[in-house]
């Protein structure tokens, strides 16, 4: 019995000696978020800091917000991210758990002998022998798991930030396009009104009038479509920023930032993206774990059914007997070959997953880099060539109108075409900023989604938000 207690004490010491991080790695995540995104994250756990975060969110919401502020609000206020932080708590708990002995099973047995008064009592404390032996390994696995959870939370942070930024640029662009659509509508309205007045004076036929009306009604529809887009953009951001109620009336900086004169550093882009990628790092950790398991599995499978215990027995004669109990399966059939093969397969599987993701990251980074370059060229092309040219076209059209070589209808149509070019410029500028944000996130460790920068459609934005649960453990 003493031996049994001694063993239990040994196990207890084993269990208690490993240090478990008290903040579940939050500080590490905060540090990495700060260095990678320049943003602060907060895990709301009912502390004074929660209150400060809430105040910070409202302070940001009271001013016109830009992309960085939107990201900050989301990082502080998105509840799915907060849910993800709970995973940290869970992983931490698992780590603590891994360091504890399983609660021994207290097996109490009272046997009633035929003689009626001879009270025999038997109880045994049985513990899983393997469990005890594998505590260091379990602790290591749990620690890896915590690391992986941290990586996952960081990935969620990056994903959220990337989504917010892309959505924000969509909103800014749509808000600008909305203004332009209003100008187009004004031009179409003026033309239609002129046509109506001309028809009333007997100077215009019904066909010409109908044509101008069609253009006008279409311009109204076009405006409505963009209005819808702005609503969708705002709601996407409301969701991402975790806002509701009175908080949804935020205002944004009304113009997309101008093209920065200097391009971001694009040197060694693939290598940098690979080095910092969080998902890849998480996969590597799995790979490492799997690698370790390949070596261990044979042993584990052989002894997994070994039970070690202390057996204390009081014989009917009143004598207590105590001794180690051991039950040992004979390894006649399962010598662990299958488990080993399975672990090896698992390792190769992770290895391939790892390699595949690395290939994907490289490809996506290259693609977004090229999109960045192209959209920069397009923006410059619009800004320095097409827009001044369109302005010139409008000016020349006015001169030709003055020379009575052009009608007001054609003149206003020319104006509409100029505004159309302005809208295309805004879209190019938007795509530039989205590509840039994506590259920056890639260099911060984010896995770019398949449909990202350069896919000029609302669908593209939808796809980006397809990973609906930023806190989910995918």
């Amino acid at each position: 019995m003493m031996r049994a207690f001694g063993l239990m004490m040994v196990l207890g010491i084993l269990a208690g000696c490993a240090a478990v991080p008290k903040d579940a790695g939050l500080a590490d995540i905060q540090r990495r978020t700060q260095s990678r995104l320049g943003q602060h994250v907060q895990w709301n756990r009912g502390t004074e800091e929660d209150h400060q975060a809430d105040e910070a969110v409202h302070r940001l919401l009271s001013e016109e917000i830009g992309p960085a502020q939107a990201v900050q609000i989301a990082l502080l206020n998105n509840r799915r991210l907060q849910a993800a932080f709970q995973e940290l708590g869970l992983a931490q708990a698992a780590l603590v758990q891994a360091g504890l002995l399983k609660n021994p099973i207290f097996d109490f047995e009272r046997r009633f002998h035929n003689d009626g008064n001879n009270k025999a009592m038997e109880f045994a404390v049985m513990d899983d022998f393997l469990h005890v032996l594998l505590i260091p390994l379990r602790r290591r696995l749990a620690a890896v798991d915590l690391e992986r959870t941290k990586s996952q939370v960081l990935a969620d942070i990056l994903e959220l930030s990337a989504q917010v930024q892309a959505s924000f640029y969509h909103l800014q662009a749509d808000a600008q396009i909305l203004q332009m659509r209003r100008t187009v509508l004004e031009a179409a309205e003026a033309a239609y009104e002129l046509a109506q007045r001309m028809q009333k004076a007997g100077n215009l036929n019904d066909l010409a009038l109908a044509r101008e009306q069609v253009a006008y009604e279409q311009a109204r529809l076009d405006l409505s479509t963009v209005e819808q887009g702005v609503i969708e953009d705002r709601e996407r951001l409301n969701t991402l920023m975790g806002l509701w109620g009175a908080d949804v009336t935020w205002r944004i900086e009304s113009r997309l930032p101008d093209l920065p004169p200097e391009e971001m550093n694009l040197d060694h882009l693939e290598r940098r993206a690979i080095e910092t990628n969080v998902d890849l790092a998480a996969l590597y950790q799995r790979l490492e774990t799997a690698g370790r398991q390949v070596g261990l599995t044979r042993t584990v499978s052989a002894i997994s059914q070994v039970q070690l215990g202390a057996h204390v027995e009081r014989e009917p004669d009143g004598l207590w007997t105590a001794g180690p109990a051991l039950s040992l399966p004979l390894p006649l059939f399962d010598q662990g070959q299958a488990a080993a093969a399975s672990a090896k397969a698992r390792f190769v599987q992770w290895w391939n997953q790892y390699t595949a993701l690395a290939v994907e990251i490289r490809s996506r980074v290259r693609r977004v880099r090229d999109v960045l370059r192209l959209t920069r060229q397009q923006v410059i092309f619009y800004r320095d060539l097409v827009l001044p040219l369109q302005q010139r076209v409008t000016e020349q059209a006015l001169l030709r109108y003055n020379a009575m070589q052009m009608t007001q209808f054609e003149l206003l149509q020319t104006k509409r075409e100029q505004v159309d070019a302005g809208m295309r410029y805004i879209k190019a500028l938007r795509d530039y900023w989205i590509a840039r944000a994506e590259l920056e996130h890639a260099l911060a460790g984010h896995v770019l989604q398949e449909t990202t920068a350069g896919s000029d459609s609302r669908k593209g934005a939808e796809d980006r938000t397809g990973r609906a649960n930023p806190g989910s453990d995918s």
Binding site: E186, A190, N203, L398, A403, Q405
Partner: protein, 445 residues
């Protein structure tokens, strides 16, 4: 077969001056058939006609007379067909083709019976010829490429030689790639004065070539492919107000010779303040009995009309084509019809989108001359020149006949000074009342 020179000499020997009697010239009319030989056959030899002595020189407004010299009894002319720049009016220049540096080309002025050798140098980028429109010439001198002669290649000089057997007003122009070459401005007038005039010589003898062009506002090249939609109508390749006035002293005998080498349009030229008679066409003189009084003369495409009148009515008189589209310049072709349209606040609405925009034509286009809106480069206003009573609302085929008493020079005498109370003015209430005019159109107070 005798050479042409021998022909001329033998003609002179055989017929002498009698050939050129007024009666002989009347032989142009169908009613007096003579021997079936061309007019240049049996032409007597005359010394080359001299200005001042044999004729009063013509005036080509905005133009010049082609210089000549005499060699061996023949007048020698030299025409150079070449690219030229023409200023249709200040503000509109175009790359055209012309003769001797100008369009229209210099007026060739000779006297009936003059023998000429005309050297034609081609400095155009393509071949050319010269046709002497209306002049009775031997077939090989007629200038139709292919039919009468090989074309003159670029860089070469051809020689034409013939005599002018009858007086009149004719034209010269290419007969090679006519659409391009006439459209680009290659044309000129020929005046053949009578050797023995049957009527008093005119004191003022004007030569005006009519032409039409299309120059898209903002361009500087006549578009010779245009078939009907011309936007410039010129007197001697100028549009009003750049057309030089026709100045005459009161009492002068005035002759105006109109030739028309427009591509597609006849021009009814109307002269204000006068009645006149057409005295000749490019076919010859009209007998006085065949003339009738006119105030407008229709000058068909490819024809000449010469009119005579005595400048007895002093003043500034409009001389213009009566086709209203021909008294406009480049503007005014593709506007909306806004007559009587209530503009509402459209001017402001469109102006917000297009700064500088102005709605015009709401009460007609009479105000266009005054607006002076910004125009494309190298474009002249549809109309608009300030005169003593305001802007003149015409452009294109317009000039002013200025008749003054006691002129000492034919320089532009400026605006006509009207005798007292000879200018239309606002009616006074007394006059309206005296003459019983009731509906005065006055807005109610």
């Amino acid at each position: 077969m005798p050479t042409r020179r021998e022909f001329l000499v033998s003609g002179a020997v055989a017929s002498g001056a009698a050939m050129l009697s007024p009666q002989a010239r009347g032989a142009d009319t169908p009613s007096a058939p003579t021997a079936a030989v061309p007019a240049y056959a049996n032409l007597p030899v005359f010394p080359p006609g001299e200005p001042g002595q044999d004729y009063t020189p013509v005036v080509t407004p905005n133009g010049v007379t082609l210089p000549w010299k005499v060699v061996g009894g023949a007048k020698i002319f030299h025409l150079v067909a070449e690219p030229v720049e023409d200023e249709f009016a200040p503000g509109l220049k175009a790359h055209c083709w012309g003769y001797n540096g100008r369009t229209s080309g210099p007026t060739m002025e000779v006297v009936e019976g003059d023998r000429v050798r005309i050297y034609v140098t081609n400095k155009l980028p393509e071949a050319t010829t010269v046709h002497w429109h209306g002049v009775i010439v031997p077939n090989g001198m007629d200038g139709v490429h292919g039919l009468n002669q090989p074309a003159i290649p670029p860089g070469e000089t051809f020689r034409y030689e013939f005599a002018f057997p009858r007086p009149g007003t004719f034209m010269y122009h290419p007969h090679f790639d006519e659409l391009t070459q006439l459209g680009m401005g290659l044309n000129g007038m020929i005046v053949v004065h009578p050797r023995q005039p049957t009527q008093p010589r005119p004191d003022r003898d004007f030569v005006i070539m009519l032409n039409e062009w299309f120059i898209d506002p903002g361009t500087s090249r006549p578009n010779t492919l245009i078939m009907t939609d011309f936007n410039l109508f010129t007197f001697n390749s100028k549009v009003f107000p750049a057309t030089e006035p026709l100045v005459a002293r009161q009492g002068d005998r005035v002759r105006i010779r109109f030739g028309n080498l427009s591509a597609q349009d006849h021009h009814p030229i109307h002269i204000h303040g006068y009645s006149f008679a057409v005295v000749e066409t490019d076919g010859g003189q009209l007998p006085p009995t065949a003339r009738w009084p006119e105030a407008t003369v229709l000058v068909p495409v490819g024809a000449v009309r010469t009119i005579d009148f005595v400048a007895d009515n002093p003043g500034d008189w409009a001389v213009h084509c009566h086709m209203t589209h021909h008294v406009m310049n480049q503007m005014g072709h593709d506007s909306l019809l806004l007559m009587d349209v209530d503009p509402g606040d459209l001017n402001e609405k469109i102006g917000r989108l297009l700064p500088g925009y102005m709605t015009t034509g709401l009460t007609g286009n009479g105000g266009m001359g005054e607006m002076r809106m910004a125009l494309p480069p190298n474009t002249i206003a549809m109309k608009g020149i300030d005169y003593q009573f305001g802007p003149i609302g015409m452009g294109g085929m317009v000039t002013v006949l200025k008749v003054r008493p006691n002129l000492t020079s034919y320089e532009d005498p400026g605006w006509y000074q009207h005798p007292d109370d000879t200018v239309a003015r606002r009616a006074t209430a007394q006059e309206l009342s005296d003459d019983g005019v009731k509906d005065t159109g006055a807005k109610p107070a």
